[in-house]
């Protein structure tokens, strides 16, 4: 599936806020934050069918060439 742009003109502001949210954390703390964030956002979406599609999309995009450089 191709995801629509829903952030619109707020894309940069959101990304900046996300980086600020991680500021000062150790890597382990950041991973824990990310896990909490995924669960929180999943709850906000609520729709299981939609969530399953999003999980598949995220899994499909991940490829070795893009992992941590």
């Amino acid at each position: 599936m191709i995801l629509d742009d829903k952030l619109g003109s707020h894309a940069d502001a959101f990304y900046n806020a996300l980086m600020d949210c991680h500021a000062g954390l150790t890597e382990a703390q950041s991973h824990a934050l990310n896990a909490r964030l995924v669960l929180i956002l999943a709850n906000e979406i609520g729709d299981l069918a939609q969530l399953e599609k999003l999980l598949a999309t995220a899994r499909k995009t991940g490829s070795p060439e893009f992992s941590g450089s």
Binding site: H22, S30, S63, E65, F66
Partner: protein, 534 residues
Amino acid sequence: MAYDYAPFPYTRPPGLTQQEQRHPVVIVGAGPIGLAMAIDLAQQGIASVVLDDNNVVSVGSRAICWAKRTLEIFDRLGVGERMLAKGVTWKVGRNFHGDNQVYAFDLLPEPGHKYPAFINLQQYYVEQYLAERAQDFPDLIDIRFLNKVTYHTDHGDHVALDISTPDGTYTLEADYYLACDGAGSATRARMALPFEGQTFEEHFLIVDVEMETSPFGNHDTPERWFWFNPPFHNGQSALLHKQPDNIYRIDLQLGPDTDPKEEATEAKVTPRIKAIVGDTPFRLDWMSVYKFRCAKLDRFVHNRVIFVGDSAHVVSPFGARGGNGGIQDVDNLGWKLAAVLKGDASAPLIESYNTERVHGSAENILNSARATNFMTPKSPIEALFRDAVLSLAADHPFARKLINSGRLSQPCDLAGSSLQTPGDAPLRPGFPMIDAPLTGPDGPTWLLSQAQGAFTLMTAGTTPLPEIDKINRIGINQTADYPCFASVDGHAETRYGKDKIYLLRPDGHVCAVFDTPDTAPIIAAHDRALGAST
């Protein structure tokens, strides 16, 4: 071919012999900002003395990306067409991740504008053209090279300056002192004004390379190419631009732990360029290693001392918001200072320069800081997110918009400023004018060329415009006893609507809109735009 840095002549200033009469304006710094300021004031009949401690144009290309809005301002100052003719026009940017293109953007997809989204033109040409244009005003612009300001004092109603020259020292007085003395402003240092913000730890190598063969490969049209994790450079990012004279600008991110002196040497730079262009012959024209800051003064107006351009605010270069932001400062201050000096407005109008340009520079700093943060991840997690964005971008439009290699300079929206009368129209008060092609008695022309430089009432409908003292009029698709033009291809009606009357500031920003030609509200909006209390 390398640029010929011919020195400007020094002439012995009259103040060495006897005290000069107080000048209305002294401009400190003859870079693009100071020169543009002097021309803007001269076009409104205001004389200035421009002082510079140097006597050559910018050494190295430095600011090269000039945005559409800047070109429109330069058009009003009489150098826009010359810059466009010499400059390299571009509007498409491409972002790559490794070898793969992940996102391309077109900054000006629609026709009907005199100027393109961007041109690239070396700062030394811009300064040369401005210095030559200044010579058109021999009675109003007095440029003094090798005149270094060593001290200044604000006496409340004027500023006194101490100046040193090759022939000795003298003093000068001026009603207003415009500090256009750049990022390292000596004026700012003398006044001990805090200049705070974010410093980025990364070093960037900036190189100008002259070569016959385009490094853009099969792409004939010059573009802005930006790489994350470039295949030819072991670093986070690279940026490529074309300049006139077959000179290419290459920016390479070097990381935080490099020796800038060692990196800015031919021995270190040549292999880095060969990694990009291969065996193609090239000549290194200029190189420099930088760290960037985003910082600004809290206030740009300090009674009779006014900061303009980099002396007031600096940004990282990603987004081309430094020089372009400074030219918008000039555009904003010029008509206000001229109105105050001519007695058409009172001194508080100058405070609106402070309000409007502090707002504009904050926007520029926000955008350039975000871009620099995106391309210089400070932690493994920031790098992880950046790479996640890049990997999602191939398939998903939302992720493409998160890729930030610089949000390129846009004109500032001044909707919140007290000079504007709130209103609703296709182009709302606060926005800068949008150009449109016209034809008139003298043939083809452009709306911006006709409207900028004075308060102007404009409509693209049939309503006759009322005659009001000190306000010009332009009718589009109508006949009247004031200048009228025909719209070409319907652009003016589309951009402005047919049923609105616009009141435009001399800097081309909409300051009020009206449905009817009643004079009272137009006069009230004009008074308000000149700083009358509301």
